[in-house]
């Protein structure tokens, strides 16, 4: 798949040089670095990969990489990525975004992306808050999180992304923590290698609106049970999960979505011929 020699490719090759505008200490810096590490470890070149996002602080990621990037509208990263992957199955397509983007406005697409099982890797930087619009509760916010914008908390039950991913048919489910960039990079690489729709929830603290999430580093731990390919076992595990077990929690065997046979993509040389007078 790769066109570049592995020796020449380093994580740095995937950085665009655009300086991120995230707050100092934001978890998303590490996730960016994990994505670039994973792509380098996979032996890909920047032109072999595309990063598709929606809107949010986390969704700024494509501009910070040198891969193909698409910064779409709020909540619609998954349908855009599906279109891209079907048109260009040769590209490694990573979808990145936040919990608001993916579970609120884009929640419907999450279900159908899992169900369709297109070979995508979906990285959700979950900080249990809408960071970009300054701190409103998201679907994964704890019901009793008290803030100026939700005095006394929303009282609403949290959305359980991993359980929902499993029930909807995702083929690979993992949880990572931005404070462990090497572990996260490894999980992203495994997710990319696994066929079908891979979903990684990355606990990525929003230090500005949820400063208490700095404490996540003491709460996370490697999952104590080995990975399973049995959805029933995975369901039991995810239903009793406290949200801090890291690692691959399910790796299924569903056949990924197969696109109808494609024509060869046109080479630059043949395109040039079309324009020759």
């Amino acid at each position: 798949m790769s066109t570049a020699s592995a020796a020449a490719i380093t994580p740095q090759s995937f950085k665009s040089g655009v300086k991120p505008v995230w707050c100092p200490g934001c978890g998303d810096y590490s996730v960016l670095s994990s994505i670039t590490k994973a792509l380098a470890a996979l032996g890909l070149a920047p032109e072999n990969a595309a990063i598709v996002s929606g809107i949010g602080c986390s969704s700024r990621i494509p501009a910070y990489t040198s891969c193909y990037g698409f910064h779409g509208v709020h909540g619609r990263a998954l349908p855009a990525a599906t279109g891209l992957k079907i048109a260009r199955p040769d590209l490694t397509v990573i979808v990145a975004g936040g919990d608001g983007d993916g579970y609120s406005i884009g929640g419907n697409h999450f279900l159908h992306a899992c169900r369709r099982n297109v070979d995508l890797t979906y990285v959700v930087m979950d900080n249990h808050v809408y960071g970009m619009t300054k701190g409103q509760p998201s679907p994964t916010t704890e019901p009793d999180w008290d803030s100026k914008l939700a005095p006394g908390g929303t009282g609403l039950r949290e959305f359980h992304p991993l359980v929902i991913a499993l029930a909807s048919g995702a083929n690979f489910i993992a949880r990572a923590f931005s404070g462990d960039p090497n572990g996260t990079a490894d999980l992203i690489a495994q997710a990319v290698r696994h066929p079908g729709f891979s979903f990684i929830e990355v606990l990525s603290p929003c230090v500005t609106y949820r400063p208490e999430q700095r404490g996540w580093k003491d709460a996370v731990r490697p999952a104590s049970v080995a990975v399973t390919d049995d959805p029933a076992r995975a369901a039991r595990r995810l239903m009793t999960d406290d949200g801090f077990n890291l690692g691959v929690l399910y790796a299924g065997r569903r056949a990924p979505y197969r696109a109808a046979p494609q024509h060869e993509p046109q080479s630059p040389a043949s395109l040039e011929l079309d324009f020759a007078l």
């Binding site: 509208v73 909540g75 609120s104 409103q136 100026k148 914008l149």
Partner: protein
């Protein structure tokens, strides 16, 4: 702070939130988006302090927000919401549905560029693109006007049974602090009595809305919406007069600024009016007979009033902070249509000025005005930078 007659410093967004609070809505569905979020923040604060007895709900997107607004409104309660840019785009389907359902919802929209590419700049393309959705549209120039217009909007909406959108330019109006007089609640209550619709979806009567209708019923329904729109200029003028009587402040549907004897009139809407006033003052100082027409009510376009205001004017310069690719400036096109075929219509010059939020200083407006005087108008608006 408490309402009273002293002026306090408020941003446009906070003034709009005050207007909403004074109108006593019962349901406020809202989804955050820059630069509208401070409206949601202040309303939440009012509610937490027990100063706003509304149910504020935060659905999962603007599409769901408008769905909730329509159903709550048809249930017979006063409904307010606010959005901007992409949020308004996502509501589009339900904006049509809301006017079709004759739901008198009031919504503030903070005018911001629409994607792609992404931007956070003042630009009115988001709302002018909704001109065919059956919503009444106001454009305001200041924070005070924003507050007052929210109250007027409920009065108008509930009379004609059509939804109203109040548009304020991102940052220039939404985030600028200005002295604002917050009227006392009693005054707002006198102006806007509790909402008691003659007809609403009452569970006791078991009615429904939205069924499939015949062609005959459909066109009659659309025609009735047209009739309600036709009544708006008169109803809105009454609402403004009554507000003027009670509060001492009136805003007109089309404001004439130094138009006496003007041979050139600048016509625009929103925050650009503030800059245009400066330009007009400078032109007057330099001995030119220039004036400003501020279009406050854009939908329905008060065509008759615009024709009256422009009678005898030689040149009109339309400044559009919006862009409709293939058509140019929307206000320019609408004014040309309104004047077409009228005797001694002015020459209409269009400038795409301020698209994407670019700064249009008074000197630029004066320069465009000078060019308009000395050249034949083009059918299309020209880019001005």
């Amino acid at each position: 702070m408490s309402p009273g007659n002293d002026a306090v410093l408020l941003t446009g967004n906070h003034a709009v939130a005050w207007g909403a609070r004074l109108a006593r809505p019962k349901v406020v569905p809202v989804y955050p988006i820059t630069p509208q979020t401070p409206i949601l923040e202040l309303l939440t604060e009012f509610q937490a302090q027990g100063e706003l007895e509304a149910e504020i709900i935060t659905p999962e997107s603007e599409h769901s927000v408008m769905a909730a607004c329509i159903a709550a409104s048809l249930g017979g309660v006063r409904v307010f919401t606010a959005t901007a840019s992409q949020g308004l785009m996502l509501m589009h389907e339900l904006l049509h549905y809301a006017s079709g359902a004759r739901a008198p919802i009031v919504m503030a929209n903070v005018n911001r560029t629409i994607a792609s590419p992404w931007g956070f700049w003042p630009d009115q393309t988001d709302s002018v693109a909704q001109r065919d959705t059956g919503w009444i549209q106001f454009y305001v120039e200041s924070a005070q006007e924003g507050l007052d217009t929210v109250l007027q909007a409920f009065r108008i909406a509930e009379r004609v049974r059509l939804p109203v959108m109040i548009n304020l330019d991102a940052f220039y109006v939404s985030h600028s602090l200005e002295p604002v007089r917050v009227p006392p609640q009693a005054l707002a209550d006198e102006y806007l009595p509790p909402y008691a619709p003659e007809h609403y979806l009452d569970p006791a009567r078991g009615e429904s809305w939205g069924n499939v209708v015949t062609q005959e019923m459909y066109w009659r329904h659309r025609r009735d919406i047209g009739g309600a729109m036709d009544a708006v200029p008169e109803v809105a003028a009454e609402a403004d007069r009554e507000w003027q009587r009670l509060s001492g402040r009136g805003w007109d549907l089309v404001e004439r600024y130094r138009c006496e004897g003007a041979d050139l009139v600048v016509l625009t809407m929103g925050s650009m009016c503030g800059t245009a006033r400066e330009a007009v003052d400078e032109l007057r100082d330099a001995g030119h007979a220039a004036g400003l027409l501020k279009v406050r009510l854009f939908r329905p376009l008060p065509a008759a009033e615009l024709r009256r205001a422009l009678a005898g004017v030689r040149d009109v310069l339309v400044l559009d902070r919006n862009f409709s690719p293939g058509a140019g400036g929307v206000l320019h096109q609408e004014l040309r249509a309104a004047l077409y075929g009228t005797a001694a219509a002015p020459r209409v010059h269009g400038a795409l000025a301020g698209v994407g939020g670019v700064n249009v200083p008074p000197a630029k407006i004066a320069e465009l005005a000078g060019r308009a005087r000395s050249s034949e108008p083009l059918p299309e608006a020209v880019w001005a930078r």
